[in-house]
């Protein structure tokens, strides 16, 4: 019996050792799993992120925004302050430096901090309930994305391209280019070349003017209306498809003013003393002017003539396929 028991023990030990060596071999072949990295949220919810960077006096600031309201304001410091509340982190990436001052001349504001040694999300677009940037007054600001609203104030140049959201621009010194595919655009107290495009929203501009001779103002909306007041440009091009155009203000000598709408009303409210050549083509629509036209010539659905008396070298081109073209006088009480 003892002999049998020994044999049994020996066999059992052999089997166990074979199994154990197999398990060890399998374990050795399996790749070593690295320890799980802790996912570090860049910004603790409820705690805002804020960063500063020294920059050139006229830097270019570029950012992408995936949500929230953006507010960019010019200030009298050569630094950028970025603040995000109720969202992700914020950081800067310097794309170019001024060789003379070695200060950042082109800065990207990112949704993460590339300087941080802590691993985390690398979202390029900023996101948060409130996104605020303070930049030098002469800065050029480039924004693209889908913020709920974009407000930019007291900076040099602006370039905004948004999928959604309204754009409000104030006190822009050297020109603005703004496009929104679903929202309205408002610009005031600004100068320089201006191009505004909205697909479905309206466009409002007032107290804007050229900074240099040759600066142009262009506004285009598909279904929104365009309202312009005190717009001092010699090159003005405004067009809509189904939105009405309202212009109220003076005409400058040597100016070329073009207003076109496919089927909506174009209304120009001008001082009674205005003098300008008028070239109106109204297809199936109509044309009328409270200011008498001198040397009026009608050719089919078109009228040409000179608005007011006296020598003039400015021209107004009015075009519509089936809308109404109207010129009315600006009364003092209006």
């Amino acid at each position: 019996m003892k002999g049998k028991g020994k044999i049994f023990k020996l066999a059992a030990a052999t089997v166990i050792s074979v199994f154990a060596s197999g398990i060890v071999a399998v374990a050795q072949r399996t790749p070593q799993v690295s320890p799980v990295r802790p996912v570090i949220v860049s910004s603790t919810p409820g705690i805002p992120s804020e960063k500063f960077i020294d920059v050139d006096a006229k830097p270019t600031v570029s950012l992408c925004v995936s949500g929230g309201a953006v507010k960019v304001t010019g200030w009298d410091r050569d630094e950028i302050r970025a603040f995000v509340d109720g969202g992700g982190s914020v950081g800067f990436k310097v794309a170019e430096r001024n060789p003379k001052t070695d200060k950042a001349a082109w800065v990207f504001v990112l949704g993460f901090d590339p300087q941080s040694k802590v691993a985390g999300k690398t979202e390029e677009c900023l996101a948060g309930e409130t996104i605020e940037l303070d930049v030098p007054r002469e800065a050029s600001v480039n924004i693209k994305g889908s913020p709920e609203e974009t407000r930019i104030e007291s900076v040099g140049k602006v370039r905004v391209e948004n999928i959604t959201g309204n754009i409000v621009l104030r006190n822009i010194g050297s020109g603005a280019w703004a496009t929104t595919y679903d929202g309205a655009i408002m610009i005031e107290r600004s100068s320089g070349p201006i191009t505004l495009t909205s697909t479905s929203g309206g466009i409002v501009a007032f107290d804007v003017g050229q900074r240099e001779v040759g600066d142009a103002f262009k506004a285009r909306s598909s279904s929104g209306s365009v309202t312009l007041q005190s717009v001092g440009y010699r090159q003005l091009d405004v067009s809509t498809i189904s939105g009405q155009i309202v212009y109220r203000g003076k005409l400058l000598g040597g100016g070329q003013y073009t207003f076109g709408s496919q089927n909506a009303r174009v209304l120009l409210t001008l001082p009674a003393s205005s003098a300008c050549k008028v070239n109106a083509w109204y297809g199936a629509g109509a044309f009328s002017s409270e200011i008498p036209l001198q040397n009026e010539t009608k050719s089919g659905p078109g009228t040409t003539g000179q608005l007011g008396k006296g020598e003039t070298n400015c021209s107004i081109y009015l075009k519509t396929t089936s809308g109404q073209l109207r010129i009315v006088t600006e009364s003092p009480e209006k």
Binding site: S146, S200, S222, N263, G283, G300, K319, T321, S322
Partner: protein
């Protein structure tokens, strides 16, 4: 101011029936004269309408003439086949001795008659040439260049049926107008570029608009597209009615540009969305 061109001359111009000098005069005059340009457009529309309506009939004329040609050829071949049969029967009969003797007698007599007649023919050859002249004159009568060329190539095969077939060729009206630069300017120059661009953009928009536009944006887009399409249709009609109106042309091009901008807005929106993802 030159005198206006009558409708018949314009019709002949469209049918390419005027000589080159006259055609150039008409083209030049039409480019300067609105009334004649309108009349030409009217005649062209009328001709297009008539040709459109008669197209099936015109197309059936061609096989009919071909059929006649075939029938004539068949008759000719039948006739030649009949002569061969007669010759074969004659040879069979000549194999009989009596007939062979009679035939040899006839051959000798025939040779004698031939000698006498050839002597007479040499004497009166000038008269024979004069007799053939009128027949040549009859053949050269058709005025159309194409017909004369055919006759020169194959004088022996010319038949009235073939000449008629050439003259009725319906494709001839495709040739005119386009060769004359002045008249081609009546079509809206540059329109093709816009149309091609719009076709490409529309294709992209059709593929992407469902994913890019929310319902309200889609509604606004479709509404504006309908407005622009309506404007383009109106303006094309206006430019056709009044081809010399530069302002009408400008408004047409502006409408095309509006459509391009509208379609572009959808595509650019898509590109922006892709760039921030």
């Amino acid at each position: 101011m030159e005198k206006c061109i009558d409708e018949g001359t314009l019709q002949a111009f469209l049918d390419n029936e005027l000589d080159s000098g006259r055609a150039q005069y008409v083209a030049r005059h039409v480019s300067d004269c609105d009334a004649c340009a309108d009349l030409l457009a009217f005649v062209e529309e009328q001709t297009a309408f008539v040709f459109g309506a008669l197209e099936p009939e015109l197309n059936t004329l061609v096989p009919t003439q071909r059929l006649w040609t075939k029938i004539n050829d068949s008759i000719e071949s039948e006739r030649s086949a009949g002569w061969l049969q007669a010759l074969r029967a004659l040879l069979v009969r000549l194999s009989l001795p009596s007939i062979a003797a009679f035939a040899s007698l006839v051959v000798v007599a025939g040779a004698f008659v031939l000698l006498i007649s050839s002597a007479e023919e040499r004497a009166g050859r000038g008269l024979a040439v004069q007799r053939s002249t009128p027949r040549i004159g009859v053949i050269e009568m058709p005025a159309a260049d194409t017909v004369v060329t055919k006759l020169n190539e194959e004088p022996a095969e010319v038949r009235t049926v073939r000449a008629d077939f050439v003259r009725r060729e319906p494709t001839r009206r495709v040739v005119p107008v386009r060769d004359v630069a002045d008249v081609s300017s009546r079509s809206v120059n540059g329109e093709e570029t816009y149309v091609k661009t719009i076709a490409k953009l529309e294709q992209r928009v059709q593929q992407n608009k469902d994913g890019l536009l929310n319902p309200s944006a889609r509604f606004a887009f479709e509404k504006d597209l309908a407005v622009v399409n309506d404007a383009i249709t109106r303006m094309r009609g206006e430019v056709r009615r009044n081809p010399k109106s530069d302002i009408a042309r400008q408004v047409l091009f502006t409408s095309y540009q509006d459509k391009i901008n509208l379609l572009n807005s959808v595509n650019e929106r898509g590109e922006l969305m892709a760039s921030i993802r």
